[in-house]
């Protein structure tokens, strides 16, 4: 296996009025487990259902109802932990996090504060141009989601929908290893990619299936290195937590805005208060969630309704044995086996479907050529059509057929594009289409020569000019291509033109 080595990315530096400042960022990513039923009840997790229809009495916290854990959710948390090369805790436990809010009927969220199911792991976050950072994962725990309050349906009332109450979330907590807004977005992107590979979370941020709380602090250049050396947080500034971000773009904006706010405070001689803040997308500013402050005293205690969760190493090993090839490994393999560039390999391994498609196209064929066709022609065409690989009208066998025809020099690259368009819009077997529609490349130099001779005879003035200015040879190549309906082998035409004009 090819071992990819990277340089560390440079931390983002923001110039304040007085000094340069660096950012220190840690994330808590909430990822919804892709289960059918909720973490502790048999109600559906389906998005977009009628309000309050996916609610069991456990979820609405009716007296006497008891939670029973969904085994599939445990498995997905373990699977995610294994995918992040993390320690799996065979014994974990559930705690109650107590607070009052209309969308939380229990008055507490069942979570895992003291004994999470997954311990320390790491994620390689690539940032392009051969740079990447290993971001340490502190823990992953399972917890219940809350309901949803809608504030704009009535001027005086808030409307509450409990459908999301009790849906299983995995909270993935990073160490403060992230050094800029782009890195934060790339980290979320990488987690999303890994979980989609694993099938543990669908990563749909629009539906709120993945959301992030972002902890931001600032420090002077050099301080962060002291923190990394000693793991002593006193080298870092006071952090603020920006809650509930569900878009990569807003995560980046919010970090930048929040860092600038903190810099302005500190440079004016003030101190940053540790608090929870909200990012206001419209105003482009963060503001304090004062109401949350008092409630921050969550009075955690072990949930008496739930015994500790004990799992067996044997089961963990079974889950580990069913892990798919993960993005980093797949990318390294694509680079070594198919000779792809780092960039092409990244694009093709972005999701499992694209990677599988590419492999089917490249199987037994020219890998680089296959990558070019999948990335440039196919992805480009799909994008223009507002489609993606899941509803692609061209099968890998068809595209592979086109690639094979190019490799065999049966068709020229230009004709291949026409052929691709035919296959894309009409379907059919590429080899058969080429045969039936006479698209084969003319490599018969006799036919090309005849066409060229005719053009030379018809354009004596151009011939004279071309003899003085060799760049004009291209005009003759173009004319021959035109005369042969684009089917002439460009290499052969180039050679002949050079030969004839040189005479």
């Amino acid at each position: 296996m090819l071992d990819l080595t990277y340089e560390l990315p440079k931390p983002k530096v923001i110039s304040g009025a007085k000094h340069d400042w660096e950012l220190v960022i840690g994330l808590e990513v909430h990822a919804q487990v892709s289960s059918n039923a909720k973490l502790f009840s048999g109600a559906s997790t389906q998005f977009g259902a009628e309000p309050n229809s996916n609610v069991a009495f456990v979820d609405s916290a009716m007296p006497g109802m008891l939670p029973v854990i969904n085994e599939y959710c445990i498995e997905q948390a373990v699977r995610t932990g294994l995918g992040l090369k993390a320690q799996i805790n065979l014994k974990s436990a559930f705690d109650r996090k107590n607070y009052f809010y209309p969308d939380l009927p229990q008055g507490y969220q069942i979570s895992q504060l003291y004994h999470p199911i997954v311990g320390e792991g790491e994620v390689l976050v690539e940032l392009g141009n051969g740079t990447a950072r290993n971001v340490r994962i502190e823990r992953i725990h399972m917890e219940q989601d809350a309901g949803k309050s809608i504030h704009d349906m009535d001027p005086n009332m808030s409307f509450v929908d409990l459908n999301r109450v009790g849906v299983c979330l995995m909270e993935i907590v990073s160490r403060p290893d992230i050094r800029g807004p782009e890195e934060a977005a790339a980290f979320v992107g990488k987690l999303r990619q890994i979980m989609r590979y694993l099938g543990t979370c669908d990563g749909n941020m629009q539906n709120g299936n993945m959301r992030a709380d972002v902890n931001v602090s600032i420090c002077r250049p050099g301080d962060y290195e002291k923190y990394q050396e000693t793991q002593d947080f006193s080298h870092l500034g006071t952090r603020c937590e920006i809650k509930n971000m569900n878009s990569m773009r807003f995560i980046q904006q919010a970090i930048e805005v929040e860092a600038r706010r903190q810099i302005a405070i500190v440079e004016a001689g003030g101190t940053v208060d540790q608090e929870t803040r909200l990012y206001d997308v419209e105003k482009g500013e963060t503001r304090s969630m004062r109401s949350k402050e008092e409630a921050h005293d969550y009075r955690y205690f072990p949930d008496p309704d739930l015994l500790p969760l004990e799992i067996e190493q044997e089961w963990v090993d079974q889950i580990a044995a069913t892990l798919p090839e993960l993005p980093d490994d797949k990318k390294a393999r694509f680079i070594s086996d198919f000779g792809l560039s780092d960039y092409d390999a990244s694009v093709l391994t972005a999701d499992v479907e694209s990677a599988a498609y590419f492999e089917a196209v490249a199987e037994g064929r020219n890998g680089k050529l296959a990558a070019n066709w999948v990335i440039n022609e196919l992805f480009g065409r799909l994008k223009a059509d507002d489609k993606d690989i899941s509803n692609c009208p061209v099968t890998p066998e068809q595209l592979g057929g086109i690639v094979a025809l190019i490799s065999a020099e049966t068709i020229s690259g230009k004709i291949a594009k026409d052929l691709f368009e035919i296959v894309y819009t009409e379907g059919g077997d590429p080899a058969l289409i080429v045969e039936e529609r006479g698209m084969k490349q003319v490599t018969d130099t006799g036919a090309i020569e005849a066409a060229l001779d005719q053009i030379i005879a018809d354009n004596p003035a151009q011939v004279e000019k071309a003899k003085v200015n060799p760049k004009l040879a291209g005009w003759f190549v173009g004319q021959v291509m035109k005369a042969t309906g684009g089917k002439a082998n460009p290499k052969a035409v180039n050679q002949l033109v050079a030969q004839k004009l040189g005479e």
Partner: protein, 95 residues
């Protein structure tokens, strides 16, 4: 550790339990009695002893990932003081 009236008031507020001011001294006293007992318990050396979570050995009961509950909107809303268009309607709460 000693609980004063302010702390007792704060705990009551966090638990959303209304306690009149004149009841706070007695409440603080009760807390102190409870905490005193816990301090006494803390004197027991439990080094290396696993916390006991059930009297008889039991494994946390699990369910399969099957949807077999829900679809009972009218029942879910039946105790709500106010419900509209399938939602619980509550006094406006805004961040």
């Amino acid at each position: 550790m000693s609980i004063d009236q302010n702390t007792a008031a704060k705990v009551a507020k966090l638990a959303r339990i209304k306690v009149e001011d004149d009841a706070l001294p007695a409440l603080a006293d009760e807390f102190n009695t409870i905490l005193g007992f816990i301090e006494q318990l803390n004197e027991v050396d439990v080094e290396g002893v696993e916390p006991m979570t059930s009297v008889t050995p039991q494994r946390l009961k699990r369910r399969e990932d099957v949807v077999n509950d829900g679809n009972q909107q009218p029942k879910v809303l039946s105790n709500a003081p106010d419900a509209r268009e399938g939602f619980f309607a509550v006094p406006k709460v805004m961040e």
